[in-house]
């Protein structure tokens, strides 16, 4: 086996995450899918760090977690705000802006 399998796994997770964004209607689940994609990227970073023999990848992954955390906070705040005014967490519901 080869460390590159980790990268393949990350690609798979990334793709599943992207698919999740496309098919799910609950805003929170959509957002979790995005988080899954970020995690997949992290996995790739970690695996590549190992393959390249430097720690930069791990550091990046660390920062990504920080960024993701910040993003989650903002995102959830926006979702909560939307939910409060619309009583719905469906991502299809806010659909006034179009065409």
């Amino acid at each position: 086996m080869n460390p590159s399998n980790y990268v393949i796994l990350s690609a798979l997770l990334f793709g599943i995450g992207a698919l999740g964004v496309l098919v799910r209607r609950n805003a929170i689940v959509v957002f979790m899918s995005v988080e899954l994609m970020l995690n997949a990227a992290n996995l790739a970073f970690v695996a590549f760090a190992r393959m390249n023999g430097n720690l930069d990848g791990q550091v990046v992954a660390f920062f990504v977690m920080v960024v993701a955390a910040a993003e989650v906070v903002v995102g959830l705040a926006i979702i909560v705000q939307i939910f409060r005014s619309r009583r719905s967490a469906s991502i299809d519901e806010p659909n006034l802006l179009k065409y």
Binding site: V34, D56, R86
Partner: protein, 523 residues
């Protein structure tokens, strides 16, 4: 660099070399971000009544200081922060442009003479739309002064984005720039449902795009073993093989940045967000984000991926043509002026991409000139949009603009000048910008791209001129909106935007010289 160095001489645990920080080089960004922190502290500790004036003072002092700091760096060409930032001519010009546009944007955001209830932002963003809370907050004249902290952080991110010299810095700068904007987009005073929807869309799609960028960055890192642009470029030149990896990596990274510039097919957020966001934010965002994101795209493509230009130029041709036409064609049938301008900004992004695909010094110069010209014009456009109002706030439906030329000839004339600039009529900045990017593309052999751009400009002319037709060629009716008298803030912004739009059309040489003297990106 450092990682390699440590490997060489350290077997045992050795003390770290302390990083050297040249504060002069970092000053512009530090000033702005530091001011952001100060602004947060103001929010925490100052009584509500004095927050607004203090914050405004802080913002303008900060921005002017940042501008001075940028000018102070004139001629610098080096990296800073252990190679994370590239302080070079184009980077500084873009930073400077961001700061100047930010000043204009701040002026628009500070305006509170237009809406009888206050500025463009919700009195309390957390109050429910239509609730008693909201009414009370509005009636009591509350202001959400936190916007200024967000604004400063966003400006800081925008200043970092085009000078980021590694993938991590770029990613973080992207987020620093975006998160405050997501928030600001959702804080409109009127039509709050639309505003919140815009924020949600901007946020979800922005995060989605960031994920693409990040995954592409991971692959690039995997390929080259480093996240620094210089080393990526070096490894692209030296390594062979792993073609699919690097192509996918480029594709995903570029897709992430193309989202920010609003290139088709990553453009669909643009109309919705531009329409929903508070108009001053839209103006600021449309102008400054474009500068920052294009700066980043240019650096990414020219510095890190320059060696692969034969691979990515055809892809950008396709994107550029698609962007120009999607923007221009869809704008034709819009009835909301903000939405129309949003589509127009998509088309304009397509034109700027012409400078990018030229992959030459001329292309870089052209793109930068275009960005600056476009940014000023756009700020002006949104300044006027924020002034045209009826009893429900801004009258963005085009039918309400009918006969505006009769009611407020000055404003209508200014708007016409902006429209002419966007169309690319000579003696406006837009023409010189178009000329610069078209000629760069032509010189690089992209004749057909220029022809396509010409056709797209033509389609675009149609909807720009439609507004002029409405304003000047039709009689006002009872539907017609009125132009509110703005305070000094918007007036300054509008005057500056109009002046620059005309000035850059008539005497573009100083700016062209400035850009040309700035040289190319540092590697």
């Amino acid at each position: 660099m450092n990682a390699v160095a440590t490997v060489v001489h350290a077997v045992d645990v050795t003390p770290w070399e302390m990083p050297t920080l040249d504060y002069r080089l970092l000053a512009p960004v530090l000033i702005v971000l530091g001011a952001g922190v100060v602004s947060v502290l103001f929010e925490a500790f100052l009584p509500r009544g004095v927050r607004r004036p203090v914050q405004l003072t802080l913002v303008f002092v900060t921005l002017i200081a940042a501008l001075v700091a940028v000018i102070n760096l004139n001629g610098v060409r080096e990296t800073a922060g252990q190679g994370a930032l590239a302080i070079d001519g184009p980077g500084l010009i873009l930073q400077g442009a961001v700061v100047v546009i930010a000043i204009l944007g701040a002026l628009l955001m500070a305006e509170r003479g237009l809406d009888p209830n206050g500025d463009a932002f919700a009195a309390r963003a957390s109050s429910l739309p239509g609730s008693e809370d909201e009414r009370q907050f509005t009636a009591r004249g509350y202001f959400q002064t936190e916007i200024w902290a967000f604004f400063l952080f966003a400006v800081g991110g925008m200043m970092l984005f085009p000078i980021a010299n590694d993938l991590l810095m770029m990613f973080v700068a992207l987020e620093v720039m975006s998160l405050p904007l997501y928030l600001l987009a959702g804080m409109a005073r009127r039509r709050r449902l639309l505003s919140q929807e815009a924020a949600l869309k901007y946020f979800v799609l922005g995060a989605f795009a960031s994920a693409f960028f990040l995954y592409g960055a991971a692959l690039l890192y995997g390929f080259s073993g480093s996240i620094s642009f210089g080393e990526i470029a070096a490894s692209l030149g030296s390594k062979t093989g792993e073609t699919a990896l690097i192509l996918i990596a480029i594709g995903l990274v570029v897709a992430g940045v193309l989202f920010k510039i609003g290139a088709a097919p990553f453009h669909q957020w643009v109309p919705d967000v531009y329409q929903g966001a508070p108009t001053p934010v839209t103006g600021f965002m449309a102008a400054a984000v474009k500068i920052a994101a294009f700066g980043a795209l240019l650096r990414l493509l020219y510095v890190a991926l320059g060696g692969m230009r034969w691979d990515w130029t055809p892809m950008l041709w396709v994107i550029s043509i698609l962007t120009m036409f999607v923007g221009a064609i869809l704008a034709l049938t819009q009835s909301d002026i903000k939405r129309m301008i949003a589509y127009s900004s998509i088309a304009q992004a397509g034109f700027i991409l012409l400078g990018v695909v030229a992959v030459s010094a001329k292309g870089l110069e052209g793109a930068i000139f275009y960005l600056i010209a476009y940014a000023f014009t756009t700020i002006g456009v949104f300044a006027i949009i924020s002034m045209v109002r009826d009893e429900n706030g801004e009258a963005t439906h085009l039918s309400k603009w009918a006969g505006l030329g009769r009611q407020s000839p000055v404003i209508a004339t200014l708007f016409t000048i902006f429209m002419l600039a966007l169309t690319g009529i000579p003696l406006t900045s837009g023409f010189i910008g178009k000329f610069a990017v078209f000629s760069a593309a032509y010189a690089s052999g992209d004749k057909w791209l220029v022809i396509a751009a010409v056709v797209a400009s033509l389609i675009a002319a149609f909807f720009y001129m439609r507004v002029v037709v409405l304003m000047f060629f039709t009689e006002p009716n009872e539907e017609t909106a009125i132009v509110a008298i703005p305070s000094i803030f918007t007036t300054i912004a509008l005057a500056a935007a109009a002046t620059v739009t005309v000035l850059l059309g008539v005497v573009p040489q100083p700016l062209l010289d400035l850009i040309a003297n700035a040289g190319v990106f540092i590697r």
